[in-house]
């Protein structure tokens, strides 16, 4: 069902935890659908120097959170904003069709944290002008045949 990469990130998730006094915190998903992702960012000079996450969700939700943190750590805010769920899925060597939406959640969690950062900094980030952190990004309807 899951690739080795997914199982590795699920069993040994990177960057689990919280950051005190984080520069940006984002939470997406909702309990009703069974998944919540929370992302913490430490940002210095426009560089993401530390990132931590907490996730309530399935194996795929945990694995996508984990790999997403790896993919943005050390990157500039601009580069992190370019993270797509597609890139996350590819980095995990694929996900089952009905689990792709979990990767959307990871992308949204990063964006939500960056949005929070931009608000705290009082800046406008390109690409996040219309971002609504409370939107329901969870869509199980991807592919059920």
């Amino acid at each position: 069902m899951y690739s080795e990469k997914v199982m590795d990130h699920f069993m040994n998730p990177r960057n689990v935890g919280e950051i005190e006094n984080a520069d940006g915190v984002g939470q997406v998903g909702n309990v009703k659908c069974g998944d919540i992702m929370k992302m913490y960012l430490k940002i210095e000079n426009d560089i993401i120097v530390d990132v931590k996450f907490k996730t309530f969700g399935c194996g795929s939700a945990i694995a996508t959170s984990s790999i997403a943190t790896e993919m943005i750590k050390g990157k500039t805010v601009q580069d992190a904003l370019k993270l797509t769920n597609k890139a996350v899925v590819e980095a995990l060597d694929g996900l089952p069709a009905q689990k792709v939406h979990c990767s959307v959640l990871a992308e949204q969690a990063v964006k939500a944290a960056l949005f929070d950062y931009s608000k705290k900094q009082n800046i406008v980030l390109e690409g996040l002008e219309d971002f609504n952190p409370d939107e329901d990004h969870h869509d199980h309807e991807e592919d059920h045949e």
Binding site: V31, K54, F56, G57, G59, H144
Partner: protein, 393 residues
């Protein structure tokens, strides 16, 4: 992987060696078609007769009231559609519950699209129906009550005898899906006033792809599968001889060992429940505390999600099941967990562990040692747990 601990006996059981041994000759040597009148055919026919007799005995039925099918789902479909269409001039109303297996629920929904009306009874927090609600649901157009004997997720056993008596009094057919109950509970169709009953071999250490429908003599029912004259013209198709032979043997074994089976699975179940409840906080046992299947354990762990729990256990060699939506790829968690009133959040964290004849005490010890660690690890990752843990330890 340290150990392989299978705790998913409600999903399916391994076949017992005695069952396989009885089946083996019927694949390559005694391979005849019972419809043939030659020696090979007669040999096959006799094997079916023996199996039918064993099943009849196991449920207190007559031989000619037992009809073999391709599984429990087919039996459910046959019973419900067969009764509905054969008795539609009498009425178009069917009563069932909200916690039936999908083989019953989706069949009822199909009938709703085709002119029938279905009442879905509620259950209480333990998964029990209310007999008064059932009484009140009956109208003069009610032709069938289809109500499961024991639930496959939470193990709750319904008051079948009362329901049967009520149905009999009102002159309404009573079908019960006993796929989970058969082999785990003593069943006598006459004592319980059951008119139709679905059972499945692979839940009682028999082969997959074989089931049976008990149909009381005189019950008016249509066929689901038309064709040849097999099963006294009621269910067409060349009989699955090895499967039927295996089902017969499995049923016989189940009856012979019923008491030890129940005491074995009950004691391991109670040990597992006690062990986990003592070591883990924020956990509840779903289903009825007493009226439940001997081998069924269903926990709801707060703050974590079922699929990640299952995957983690699987890495430790422990096989379980969950009612989480994420497991099935569907939008909502199990309809059964919703019906007993769990919040989405808690339903998501459910874990079913079902115990069987091959489960050993050390398997349970292993689960009691490992499961709390897994729950803890996942909770450490959970943003929901943060909020409470301060006040916890």
């Amino acid at each position: 992987m340290n150990q392989r601990v299978y705790l998913d006996y409600s999903a399916t059981t391994p076949m017992k060696q005695e069952v396989l041994n009885e089946m083996l000759p019927y694949f390559t040597e005694k391979f005849g078609n019972p419809s043939s009148i030659h020696a090979y055919g007669r040999e096959a026919k006799q094997a079916v007769d023996v199996a039918r007799d064993r099943l009849a005995k196991a449920m207190g039925a007559k031989q000619d009231e037992v009809f073999f099918t391709g599984g429990g789902s087919e039996a459910d479909n046959w019973a419900i559609k067969g009764i509905a269409y054969a008795n539609k001039q009498k009425g178009n109303h069917i009563i069932t519950t909200k916690i039936e297996h999908h083989a019953v629920l989706h069949t009822c929904e199909y009938l709703e699209k085709n002119g029938f009306e279905v009442s879905y009874l509620d259950v209480d927090q333990y998964g029990m129906i209310d007999i008064n609600q059932l009484k009140n649901a009956i109208t003069d157009r009610t032709i069938l009550i289809t109500l499961m004997f024991a639930n496959n997720e939470i193990g709750t056993i319904q008051p079948i005898k009362e329901i049967g008596a009520l149905a009999k009094e009102k002159g309404i057919y009573f079908h019960t899906d006993a796929v989970q109950a058969f082999g785990n509970v003593k069943i006598d169709v006459n004592d319980l006033n059951i008119d139709l009953m679905s059972i499945s071999a692979h839940k009682i250490y028999g082969p997959k792809g074989v089931g049976a429908l008990y149909i009381r003599k005189g019950v008016k029912i249509n066929s689901l599968i038309h064709g040849g004259a097999q099963e006294r013209r009621r269910r067409a198709g060349t009989e699955n001889i090895p499967g039927i032979v295996g089902f017969g043997k499995a049923a016989e074994l189940a009856m012979e060992t019923l008491e030890t089976h129940i005491s074995h699975t009950t004691s391991l179940r109670d040990k597992l429940v006690k062990g986990i409840m003592e070591k883990v906080d924020y956990v509840r046992l779903n289903g009825h505390p007493i009226h439940r299947l001997p081998g069924n354990v269903n926990f709801a762990f707060e703050f974590i999600e079922g699929e990640s729990l299952l995957l983690s256990l699987d890495m430790l060699g422990i096989s379980g099941s969950s009612g989480s939506a994420c497991t099935s790829g569907s939008l909502d968690p199990s309809h059964v967990l919703m019906a007993i009133g769990l919040s989405h959040e808690i339903a998501h964290g459910s874990l079913r562990l079902t115990i069987g004849d091959f489960t050993k005490e050390e398997d349970i010890d292993y689960v009691i040692a490992e499961l709390p660690k897994v729950v803890d690890r996942l909770r450490q990752m959970s943003p929901l747990y943060e909020k409470v843990k301060g006040g916890l330890k």
